[in-house]
Protein backbone atom coordinates (compact mmCIF):
# COMPACT_ATOMS: atom_id res chain seq x y z
CA UNK A 1 0.00 0.00 0.00
CA UNK A 2 1.35 3.42 -0.92
CA UNK A 3 -0.15 6.49 0.69
CA UNK A 4 0.66 9.82 -0.92
CA UNK A 5 0.01 13.08 0.87
CA UNK A 6 0.26 16.42 -0.90
CA UNK A 7 0.91 19.34 1.43
CA UNK A 8 3.26 20.01 4.35
CA UNK A 9 0.70 21.64 6.65
CA UNK A 10 -0.82 20.35 9.85
CA UNK A 11 -3.51 18.31 8.06
CA UNK A 12 -0.83 16.35 6.18
CA UNK A 13 1.29 15.73 9.26
CA UNK A 14 -1.75 14.67 11.32
CA UNK A 15 -2.71 12.26 8.51
CA UNK A 16 0.75 10.67 8.50
CA UNK A 17 0.59 10.15 12.27
CA UNK A 18 -2.85 8.61 11.95
CA UNK A 19 -1.83 6.27 9.11
CA UNK A 20 1.17 5.10 11.12
CA UNK A 21 -1.01 4.42 14.15
CA UNK A 22 -2.87 1.85 12.04
CA UNK A 23 -0.44 0.71 9.35
CA UNK A 24 3.21 0.28 10.39
CA UNK A 25 4.32 -1.17 7.07
CA UNK A 26 2.69 0.80 4.26
CA UNK A 27 4.80 3.26 2.30
CA UNK A 28 4.05 6.93 2.95
CA UNK A 29 5.22 9.67 0.60
CA UNK A 30 4.82 13.37 1.41
CA UNK A 31 4.92 15.65 -1.62
CA UNK A 32 5.01 19.43 -1.54
CA UNK A 33 6.61 22.52 -3.00
CA UNK A 34 6.85 24.65 0.15
CA UNK A 35 10.60 24.96 0.76
CA UNK A 36 9.97 25.49 4.47
CA UNK A 37 8.17 22.22 5.17
CA UNK A 38 5.99 21.93 8.28
CA UNK A 39 5.84 25.03 10.47
CA UNK A 40 3.21 26.86 12.48
CA UNK A 41 1.46 29.14 10.00
CA UNK A 42 -0.51 30.92 12.78
CA UNK A 43 2.81 31.50 14.56
CA UNK A 44 3.94 33.82 11.76
CA UNK A 45 2.04 36.58 13.58
CA UNK A 46 4.42 36.27 16.52
CA UNK A 47 7.42 36.06 14.21
CA UNK A 48 6.31 39.36 12.65
CA UNK A 49 6.05 41.09 16.04
CA UNK A 50 9.46 39.80 17.05
CA UNK A 51 8.17 37.61 19.89
CA UNK A 52 9.58 34.55 18.21
CA UNK A 53 12.57 33.61 16.12
CA UNK A 54 11.62 31.92 12.86
CA UNK A 55 13.48 28.75 13.85
CA UNK A 56 11.11 28.36 16.80
CA UNK A 57 8.16 27.93 14.42
CA UNK A 58 9.13 24.41 13.37
CA UNK A 59 7.47 21.94 15.75
CA UNK A 60 9.29 18.85 14.52
CA UNK A 61 12.90 17.79 14.22
CA UNK A 62 14.26 15.55 11.47
CA UNK A 63 14.45 12.83 14.10
CA UNK A 64 10.73 13.17 14.92
CA UNK A 65 9.94 12.68 11.25
CA UNK A 66 12.27 9.72 10.99
CA UNK A 67 10.20 7.91 13.60
CA UNK A 68 7.13 8.28 11.38
CA UNK A 69 8.98 6.50 8.60
CA UNK A 70 7.93 8.41 5.48
CA UNK A 71 9.85 10.00 2.68
CA UNK A 72 9.53 13.40 1.12
CA UNK A 73 9.51 14.57 -2.47
CA UNK A 74 9.99 18.30 -2.95
CA UNK A 75 8.19 19.36 -6.06
CA UNK A 76 4.98 20.75 -7.51
CA UNK A 77 2.30 18.25 -8.42
CA UNK A 78 0.99 19.27 -11.83
CA UNK A 79 -1.65 16.62 -12.50
CA UNK A 80 -3.57 13.75 -10.96
CA UNK A 81 -4.17 10.97 -13.47
CA UNK A 82 -7.05 9.26 -11.70
CA UNK A 83 -7.61 6.30 -13.99
CA UNK A 84 -3.97 5.25 -13.56
CA UNK A 85 -3.72 6.44 -9.95
CA UNK A 86 -0.59 8.41 -10.74
CA UNK A 87 0.66 11.91 -9.91
CA UNK A 88 2.70 13.98 -12.29
CA UNK A 89 5.32 16.07 -10.48
CA UNK A 90 7.29 18.86 -12.09
CA UNK A 91 10.81 17.68 -12.93
CA UNK A 92 10.31 14.27 -11.26
CA UNK A 93 9.20 10.80 -12.28
CA UNK A 94 5.48 10.06 -12.07
CA UNK A 95 4.40 8.77 -8.67
CA UNK A 96 1.80 6.03 -8.26
CA UNK A 97 -0.59 6.05 -5.30
CA UNK A 98 -3.11 3.71 -3.74
CA UNK A 99 -4.59 6.35 -1.44
CA UNK A 100 -4.10 10.06 -1.99
CA UNK A 101 -4.66 12.96 0.40
CA UNK A 102 -4.99 16.50 -0.88
CA UNK A 103 -3.95 18.77 1.98
CA UNK A 104 -2.72 21.65 -0.12
CA UNK A 105 -4.27 24.47 1.92
CA UNK A 106 -5.41 27.85 0.72
CA UNK A 107 -3.75 30.93 -0.68
CA UNK A 108 -4.23 34.66 -0.31
CA UNK A 109 -6.63 36.34 -2.69
CA UNK A 110 -4.64 38.71 -4.88
CA UNK A 111 -5.17 42.45 -4.66
CA UNK A 112 -6.37 43.44 -8.09
CA UNK A 113 -5.53 47.09 -8.53
CA UNK A 114 -3.00 48.75 -10.82
CA UNK A 115 0.41 48.81 -9.15
CA UNK A 116 -0.20 45.70 -7.03
CA UNK A 117 2.87 44.11 -8.63
CA UNK A 118 5.23 46.86 -7.40
CA UNK A 119 8.04 46.04 -5.01
CA UNK A 120 6.89 46.82 -1.50
CA UNK A 121 3.41 45.26 -1.80
CA UNK A 122 2.99 42.31 0.56
CA UNK A 123 0.60 39.59 1.62
CA UNK A 124 1.02 37.25 4.60
CA UNK A 125 0.49 33.78 3.23
CA UNK A 126 3.53 31.83 4.33
CA UNK A 127 7.00 31.94 5.83
CA UNK A 128 8.55 33.49 2.73
CA UNK A 129 6.09 36.40 2.87
CA UNK A 130 6.86 37.01 6.54
CA UNK A 131 10.60 37.05 5.83
CA UNK A 132 10.14 39.44 2.92
CA UNK A 133 8.09 41.77 5.11
CA UNK A 134 10.68 41.71 7.89
CA UNK A 135 13.43 42.49 5.38
CA UNK A 136 11.54 45.69 4.48
CA UNK A 137 10.30 47.02 7.85
CA UNK A 138 12.04 50.15 9.08
CA UNK A 139 11.29 52.33 12.10
CA UNK A 140 9.65 55.57 11.07
CA UNK A 141 8.56 54.39 7.63
CA UNK A 142 4.94 54.33 6.58
CA UNK A 143 2.77 51.39 5.58
CA UNK A 144 -0.80 51.13 4.32
CA UNK A 145 -2.70 47.98 5.35
CA UNK A 146 -5.96 46.89 3.72
CA UNK A 147 -8.27 43.98 4.35
CA UNK A 148 -10.02 42.40 7.29
CA UNK A 149 -10.16 39.53 9.73
CA UNK A 150 -7.30 38.31 11.83
CA UNK A 151 -4.54 38.46 9.22
CA UNK A 152 -5.03 42.18 8.53
CA UNK A 153 -4.56 42.92 12.23
CA UNK A 154 -1.55 40.61 12.42
CA UNK A 155 0.00 42.74 9.72
CA UNK A 156 -0.94 45.97 11.51
CA UNK A 157 0.46 44.69 14.83
CA UNK A 158 3.63 43.47 13.15
CA UNK A 159 4.31 46.87 11.60
CA UNK A 160 3.44 48.74 14.81
CA UNK A 161 5.86 46.59 16.80
CA UNK A 162 8.64 47.68 14.44
CA UNK A 163 7.89 51.35 15.00
CA UNK A 164 6.24 52.01 11.65
CA UNK A 165 3.52 54.51 10.98
CA UNK A 166 0.44 52.49 9.99
CA UNK A 167 -2.62 53.53 7.99
CA UNK A 168 -5.36 50.89 8.17
CA UNK A 169 -7.99 51.21 5.46
CA UNK A 170 -11.51 49.85 5.98
CA UNK A 171 -14.09 49.77 3.21
CA UNK A 172 -17.02 50.04 5.58
CA UNK A 173 -17.63 51.80 8.85
CA UNK A 174 -16.17 49.22 11.18
CA UNK A 175 -13.76 46.30 11.60
CA UNK A 176 -14.88 42.69 10.87
CA UNK A 177 -18.56 43.54 10.79
CA UNK A 178 -19.91 40.03 10.17
CA UNK A 179 -18.20 38.41 13.16
CA UNK A 180 -17.87 41.16 15.75
CA UNK A 181 -20.72 43.37 16.93
CA UNK A 182 -20.44 47.16 16.91
CA UNK A 183 -19.17 47.38 20.45
CA UNK A 184 -16.47 44.78 19.85
CA UNK A 185 -15.37 46.48 16.64
CA UNK A 186 -15.13 49.74 18.55
CA UNK A 187 -13.01 48.19 21.28
CA UNK A 188 -10.57 46.87 18.67
CA UNK A 189 -10.52 50.13 16.71
CA UNK A 190 -10.01 52.17 19.89
CA UNK A 191 -7.06 50.02 20.87
CA UNK A 192 -5.55 50.41 17.41
CA UNK A 193 -5.88 54.17 17.70
CA UNK A 194 -4.13 54.03 21.07
CA UNK A 195 -1.27 52.33 19.26
CA UNK A 196 -1.23 55.37 16.91
CA UNK A 197 -2.66 53.40 14.00
CA UNK A 198 -4.52 55.77 11.71
CA UNK A 199 -7.87 54.29 10.71
CA UNK A 200 -9.52 55.35 7.45
CA UNK A 201 -13.18 54.34 7.10
CA UNK A 202 -15.03 54.00 3.79
CA UNK A 203 -11.67 53.87 2.08
CA UNK A 204 -10.56 51.75 -0.80
CA UNK A 205 -7.34 51.61 -2.78
CA UNK A 206 -7.84 52.16 -6.50
CA UNK A 207 -4.16 52.30 -7.38
CA UNK A 208 -0.78 51.64 -5.80
CA UNK A 209 1.59 54.28 -7.10
CA UNK A 210 5.31 53.86 -7.45
CA UNK A 211 8.58 55.12 -8.74
CA UNK A 212 11.39 53.01 -10.24
CA UNK A 213 9.30 49.92 -9.61
CA UNK A 214 8.86 50.63 -5.87
CA UNK A 215 5.78 51.68 -3.93
CA UNK A 216 5.54 55.35 -2.98
CA UNK A 217 1.85 55.72 -2.21
CA UNK A 218 -1.74 54.67 -2.72
CA UNK A 219 -4.57 56.51 -4.40
CA UNK A 220 -7.99 56.09 -2.82
CA UNK A 221 -11.44 56.05 -4.42
CA UNK A 222 -11.95 59.74 -3.59
CA UNK A 223 -8.63 60.58 -5.30
CA UNK A 224 -6.99 61.21 -1.98
CA UNK A 225 -3.34 60.08 -2.01
CA UNK A 226 -1.55 58.54 0.97
CA UNK A 227 2.22 58.50 0.74
CA UNK A 228 3.74 55.27 1.97
CA UNK A 229 6.76 53.00 1.68
CA UNK A 230 4.94 49.68 1.90
CA UNK A 231 1.48 48.27 1.24
CA UNK A 232 0.18 45.06 2.85
CA UNK A 233 -3.12 43.33 2.19
CA UNK A 234 -5.21 40.52 3.64
CA UNK A 235 -8.48 40.44 1.75
CA UNK A 236 -9.29 36.75 2.15
CA UNK A 237 -8.10 33.36 1.07
CA UNK A 238 -9.03 30.83 -1.59
CA UNK A 239 -8.68 27.06 -1.21
CA UNK A 240 -6.17 25.65 -3.70
CA UNK A 241 -8.65 23.58 -5.69
CA UNK A 242 -6.85 23.67 -9.05
CA UNK A 243 -5.48 20.12 -8.92
CA UNK A 244 -8.83 18.69 -7.82
CA UNK A 245 -10.64 20.68 -10.47
CA UNK A 246 -8.33 19.45 -13.20
CA UNK A 247 -8.84 15.89 -11.94
CA UNK A 248 -12.60 16.32 -12.20
CA UNK A 249 -13.31 15.92 -8.48
CA UNK A 250 -16.44 17.49 -7.04
CA UNK A 251 -15.68 20.99 -5.81
CA UNK A 252 -17.66 23.94 -4.59
CA UNK A 253 -15.73 26.67 -2.78
CA UNK A 254 -13.36 23.93 -1.59
CA UNK A 255 -13.03 20.23 -2.35
CA UNK A 256 -16.25 18.54 -1.27
CA UNK A 257 -15.74 15.64 1.14
CA UNK A 258 -18.01 13.32 3.08
CA UNK A 259 -17.70 12.73 6.82
CA UNK A 260 -14.78 10.37 6.14
CA UNK A 261 -12.93 13.19 4.38
CA UNK A 262 -13.35 11.27 1.15
CA UNK A 263 -13.91 13.03 -2.16
CA UNK A 264 -16.18 11.58 -4.84
CA UNK A 265 -13.21 9.40 -5.84
CA UNK A 266 -12.99 6.75 -3.08
CA UNK A 267 -9.17 6.66 -3.29
CA UNK A 268 -8.75 10.41 -2.90
CA UNK A 269 -9.24 12.31 0.35
CA UNK A 270 -8.99 15.99 1.23
CA UNK A 271 -8.38 17.74 4.56
CA UNK A 272 -7.53 21.15 5.99
CA UNK A 273 -8.10 24.56 4.42
CA UNK A 274 -8.74 23.06 0.99
CA UNK A 275 -11.57 20.79 2.15
CA UNK A 276 -15.19 21.82 2.39
CA UNK A 277 -16.51 19.60 5.13
CA UNK A 278 -20.05 18.80 6.18
CA UNK A 279 -21.24 20.70 9.23
CA UNK A 280 -24.08 18.85 10.99
CA UNK A 281 -24.98 22.01 12.94
CA UNK A 282 -25.98 23.95 9.85
CA UNK A 283 -26.60 21.05 7.49
CA UNK A 284 -24.24 22.59 4.95
CA UNK A 285 -20.68 22.07 3.81
CA UNK A 286 -18.43 24.85 5.02
CA UNK A 287 -14.87 26.10 4.86
CA UNK A 288 -12.75 26.55 7.94
CA UNK A 289 -9.29 28.00 7.94
CA UNK A 290 -8.38 26.94 11.43
CA UNK A 291 -5.54 24.86 12.84
CA UNK A 292 -7.58 22.51 15.03
CA UNK A 293 -10.18 21.44 12.42
CA UNK A 294 -7.31 20.97 9.93
CA UNK A 295 -5.54 18.69 12.37
CA UNK A 296 -8.74 16.77 13.19
CA UNK A 297 -9.63 16.40 9.51
CA UNK A 298 -6.10 15.22 8.69
CA UNK A 299 -6.29 12.65 11.45
CA UNK A 300 -9.67 11.42 10.30
CA UNK A 301 -8.53 11.26 6.67
CA UNK A 302 -5.41 9.31 7.65
CA UNK A 303 -7.36 6.72 9.64
CA UNK A 304 -9.86 6.22 6.83
CA UNK A 305 -7.10 5.96 4.23
CA UNK A 306 -5.56 3.19 6.31
CA UNK A 307 -8.88 1.37 6.46
CA UNK A 308 -10.06 2.36 9.94
CA UNK A 309 -13.45 4.01 9.53
CA UNK A 310 -13.55 7.20 11.53
CA UNK A 311 -15.99 10.01 10.86
CA UNK A 312 -14.90 13.61 11.25
CA UNK A 313 -17.43 15.25 13.49
CA UNK A 314 -17.21 18.98 13.05
CA UNK A 315 -17.55 20.75 16.35
CA UNK A 316 -18.25 24.41 16.99
CA UNK A 317 -15.33 26.19 15.36
CA UNK A 318 -13.34 28.38 17.67
CA UNK A 319 -10.22 30.44 17.59
CA UNK A 320 -8.29 32.21 20.27
CA UNK A 321 -6.54 35.19 18.82
CA UNK A 322 -5.26 38.62 19.64
CA UNK A 323 -7.14 41.54 18.17
CA UNK A 324 -5.11 44.70 18.67
CA UNK A 325 -3.36 42.99 21.58
CA UNK A 326 -6.60 41.89 23.21
CA UNK A 327 -7.00 38.15 23.62
CA UNK A 328 -10.28 37.15 22.02
CA UNK A 329 -12.01 33.79 21.73
CA UNK A 330 -14.63 33.29 19.04
CA UNK A 331 -16.80 30.18 19.41
CA UNK A 332 -19.67 28.86 17.27
CA UNK A 333 -22.13 31.14 15.52
CA UNK A 334 -21.66 34.78 16.36
CA UNK A 335 -22.43 36.89 13.32
CA UNK A 336 -23.95 37.01 9.87
CA UNK A 337 -23.85 38.74 6.53
CA UNK A 338 -20.73 39.77 4.71
CA UNK A 339 -17.82 42.00 5.50
CA UNK A 340 -16.77 44.40 2.79
CA UNK A 341 -13.10 44.03 3.71
CA UNK A 342 -12.97 40.31 2.96
CA UNK A 343 -13.70 38.20 -0.09
CA UNK A 344 -14.95 34.86 1.30
CA UNK A 345 -13.07 33.91 4.43
CA UNK A 346 -9.67 34.71 5.84
CA UNK A 347 -7.05 32.73 7.73
CA UNK A 348 -7.99 31.84 11.28
CA UNK A 349 -11.59 32.07 10.18
CA UNK A 350 -14.67 29.88 9.81
CA UNK A 351 -17.73 30.22 7.59
CA UNK A 352 -19.77 28.82 10.48
CA UNK A 353 -19.14 31.95 12.55
CA UNK A 354 -21.44 33.85 10.17
CA UNK A 355 -24.30 31.35 10.18
CA UNK A 356 -26.11 32.85 13.11
CA UNK A 357 -29.83 32.15 13.00
CA UNK A 358 -32.23 34.20 15.09
CA UNK A 359 -30.76 34.38 18.54
CA UNK A 360 -30.98 36.66 21.50
CA UNK A 361 -27.87 38.34 22.76
CA UNK A 362 -26.79 38.36 26.37
CA UNK A 363 -23.78 40.48 27.06
CA UNK A 364 -21.72 41.95 29.83
CA UNK A 365 -18.83 44.37 30.07
CA UNK A 366 -18.21 47.31 27.81
CA UNK A 367 -14.58 47.96 28.39
CA UNK A 368 -11.64 45.63 27.87
CA UNK A 369 -13.25 42.52 29.30
CA UNK A 370 -16.32 41.76 27.32
CA UNK A 371 -18.52 38.74 26.97
CA UNK A 372 -21.22 38.22 24.35
CA UNK A 373 -23.39 35.12 24.27
CA UNK A 374 -25.73 34.12 21.46
CA UNK A 375 -28.60 32.44 23.22
CA UNK A 376 -30.69 29.90 21.32
CA UNK A 377 -33.82 28.10 22.51
CA UNK A 378 -32.08 25.54 24.67
CA UNK A 379 -28.40 25.94 23.95
CA UNK A 380 -25.80 28.61 23.46
CA UNK A 381 -25.12 29.05 19.75
CA UNK A 382 -21.97 31.07 20.07
CA UNK A 383 -19.86 33.34 22.21
CA UNK A 384 -17.19 35.98 22.00
CA UNK A 385 -14.90 36.41 24.97
CA UNK A 386 -12.65 39.46 24.94
CA UNK A 387 -9.99 40.21 27.53
CA UNK A 388 -10.18 37.96 30.57
CA UNK A 389 -10.29 34.42 29.19
CA UNK A 390 -11.32 32.42 32.22
CA UNK A 391 -14.77 31.74 30.79
CA UNK A 392 -13.42 30.85 27.37
CA UNK A 393 -12.84 27.17 28.20
CA UNK A 394 -16.23 26.56 29.90
CA UNK A 395 -18.04 28.32 27.05
CA UNK A 396 -16.21 26.30 24.44
CA UNK A 397 -17.42 23.11 26.12
CA UNK A 398 -20.97 24.37 26.73
CA UNK A 399 -21.32 25.36 23.07
CA UNK A 400 -19.51 22.35 21.52
CA UNK A 401 -21.35 19.82 23.67
CA UNK A 402 -24.69 21.60 23.13
CA UNK A 403 -25.30 21.64 26.87
CA UNK A 404 -28.94 22.36 27.78
CA UNK A 405 -28.90 25.83 29.30
CA UNK A 406 -32.65 25.99 30.01
CA UNK A 407 -32.03 26.40 33.77
CA UNK A 408 -30.18 29.70 33.22
CA UNK A 409 -31.73 30.95 29.99
CA UNK A 410 -34.12 33.38 31.61
CA UNK A 411 -31.49 34.64 34.02
CA UNK A 412 -29.11 35.31 31.14
CA UNK A 413 -31.71 37.34 29.30
CA UNK A 414 -32.83 39.40 32.31
CA UNK A 415 -31.97 43.11 32.13
CA UNK A 416 -28.50 43.88 33.50
CA UNK A 417 -27.83 40.18 34.07
CA UNK A 418 -24.42 39.35 35.43
CA UNK A 419 -23.81 37.06 32.49
CA UNK A 420 -20.28 36.06 33.52
CA UNK A 421 -21.32 35.08 37.03
CA UNK A 422 -24.31 33.11 35.76
CA UNK A 423 -22.17 31.12 33.31
CA UNK A 424 -19.44 30.51 35.90
CA UNK A 425 -21.95 29.28 38.44
CA UNK A 426 -23.73 27.10 35.87
CA UNK A 427 -20.44 25.57 34.72
CA UNK A 428 -19.37 24.71 38.27
CA UNK A 429 -22.69 22.98 38.95
CA UNK A 430 -22.68 21.27 35.56
CA UNK A 431 -19.20 19.89 36.14
CA UNK A 432 -20.10 18.66 39.62
CA UNK A 433 -23.24 17.00 38.25
CA UNK A 434 -21.29 15.38 35.40
CA UNK A 435 -18.61 14.06 37.75
CA UNK A 436 -21.09 12.57 40.22
CA UNK A 437 -23.19 10.93 37.51
Amino acid sequence: MRYVIIGFGVAGIAAIEAIRSVDKEGEIVLVGDDPHGFYSRPGLAYFLTGELHDKALYPRTANDFKKLNFHTIRGRVTRIVRDQRVLEIEGKSPLAYDRLLLAVGAQAMPMKVPGAELEGVFKLDHMEDAKRILAHVRRGKTVVVVGGGITALELVEGFVSHGMKVHYLLRGDRYWSNVLDEQESKIVEHRLQEEKVQLHYHSEIVEVTGQHGRVNGVRLQDDKVLKCDLVAYAIGIRPRVDLAKQAGLAIDRGILVNEFMQTDDPNIFAAGDVAQAYDPTTGTSVLDSLWTPARQQGRSAGLNMAGKKKAYVKSAPFNVTRLAGLTTTIIGMVGRGRDEDLVGIARGDSETWRKLPDAIVAQAGFDINRLRLLVGDKTLLGAIVMGNQKLSFPLEKIISDKVDISPIREKLLAPNAKVGDIVADFWTKYQTATVTQ
Binding site: A56, L57, K390, D425
Partner: protein
Amino acid sequence: MSLLNFLKRDADRHTVLSSGHVVPDSDRCVQCGICSYNCPIGIDVRAHAWRGEPVIHSQCITCGECVARCPRGVLRFEATDLFAKGEA
Protein backbone atom coordinates in the same frame (compact mmCIF):
# COMPACT_ATOMS: atom_id res chain seq x y z
CA MET B 1 -20.68 32.07 43.56
CA SER B 2 -19.20 35.26 42.23
CA LEU B 3 -17.02 35.43 39.16
CA LEU B 4 -14.12 36.43 41.37
CA ASN B 5 -14.36 33.24 43.40
CA PHE B 6 -14.67 31.24 40.22
CA LEU B 7 -11.43 32.74 38.98
CA LYS B 8 -9.73 32.02 42.29
CA ARG B 9 -10.56 28.35 41.95
CA ASP B 10 -7.93 28.05 39.30
CA ALA B 11 -4.71 26.84 40.80
CA ASP B 12 -2.14 29.58 40.73
CA ARG B 13 1.59 29.40 40.53
CA HIS B 14 2.13 29.42 44.28
CA THR B 15 -0.21 26.52 44.85
CA VAL B 16 1.47 24.31 42.32
CA LEU B 17 5.06 25.39 42.74
CA SER B 18 5.99 22.27 44.63
CA SER B 19 3.08 20.00 43.90
CA GLY B 20 1.72 20.53 40.40
CA HIS B 21 2.38 20.72 36.74
CA VAL B 22 1.47 22.53 33.56
CA VAL B 23 -1.42 21.03 31.60
CA PRO B 24 -2.18 21.83 27.94
CA ASP B 25 -5.49 22.01 26.10
CA SER B 26 -4.26 20.74 22.75
CA ASP B 27 -7.39 21.89 20.87
CA ARG B 28 -6.31 25.49 21.42
CA CYS B 29 -2.69 25.02 20.44
CA VAL B 30 -1.36 26.10 17.05
CA GLN B 31 2.18 24.87 17.75
CA CYS B 32 3.71 28.34 17.47
CA GLY B 33 6.36 27.35 19.99
CA ILE B 34 6.34 30.46 22.20
CA CYS B 35 6.17 28.10 25.21
CA SER B 36 9.23 26.06 24.26
CA TYR B 37 11.07 29.20 23.12
CA ASN B 38 10.62 30.82 26.54
CA CYS B 39 11.19 27.79 28.75
CA PRO B 40 14.33 28.56 30.79
CA ILE B 41 15.07 24.86 31.14
CA GLY B 42 14.60 24.07 27.46
CA ILE B 43 11.67 21.68 27.91
CA ASP B 44 9.76 21.15 24.68
CA VAL B 45 6.41 22.24 26.11
CA ARG B 46 4.95 22.45 22.59
CA ALA B 47 5.46 18.71 22.02
CA HIS B 48 3.45 18.04 25.20
CA ALA B 49 0.72 20.34 23.90
CA TRP B 50 0.57 18.45 20.59
CA ARG B 51 0.11 15.16 22.42
CA GLY B 52 -2.22 16.71 24.99
CA GLU B 53 -0.02 15.46 27.82
CA PRO B 54 0.76 17.32 31.04
CA VAL B 55 4.30 18.65 31.36
CA ILE B 56 5.49 16.09 33.88
CA HIS B 57 9.19 16.59 33.59
CA SER B 58 11.77 16.15 36.33
CA GLN B 59 13.40 19.47 35.48
CA CYS B 60 10.25 21.61 35.23
CA ILE B 61 10.43 24.29 37.93
CA THR B 62 6.81 25.42 37.31
CA CYS B 63 8.12 28.94 36.81
CA GLY B 64 5.06 29.76 34.73
CA GLU B 65 6.86 31.36 31.77
CA CYS B 66 5.10 29.08 29.29
CA VAL B 67 1.69 29.63 30.89
CA ALA B 68 2.13 33.39 30.90
CA ARG B 69 3.54 33.68 27.38
CA CYS B 70 1.12 31.43 25.52
CA PRO B 71 -1.00 33.82 23.44
CA ARG B 72 -3.91 31.36 23.23
CA GLY B 73 -4.46 30.22 26.77
CA VAL B 74 -3.42 26.66 25.96
CA LEU B 75 -1.56 26.09 29.22
CA ARG B 76 -2.73 26.15 32.79
CA PHE B 77 -1.44 25.01 36.15
CA GLU B 78 -3.01 22.05 37.80
CA ALA B 79 -2.21 20.65 41.20
CA THR B 80 -0.88 17.11 41.16
CA ASP B 81 -3.66 14.87 42.40
CA LEU B 82 -1.54 12.58 44.50
CA PHE B 83 -0.71 15.06 47.26
CA ALA B 84 -2.63 18.18 46.55
CA LYS B 85 -6.14 16.99 45.86
CA GLY B 86 -8.66 19.52 47.02
CA GLU B 87 -6.09 22.17 47.81
CA ALA B 88 -6.21 23.99 44.52
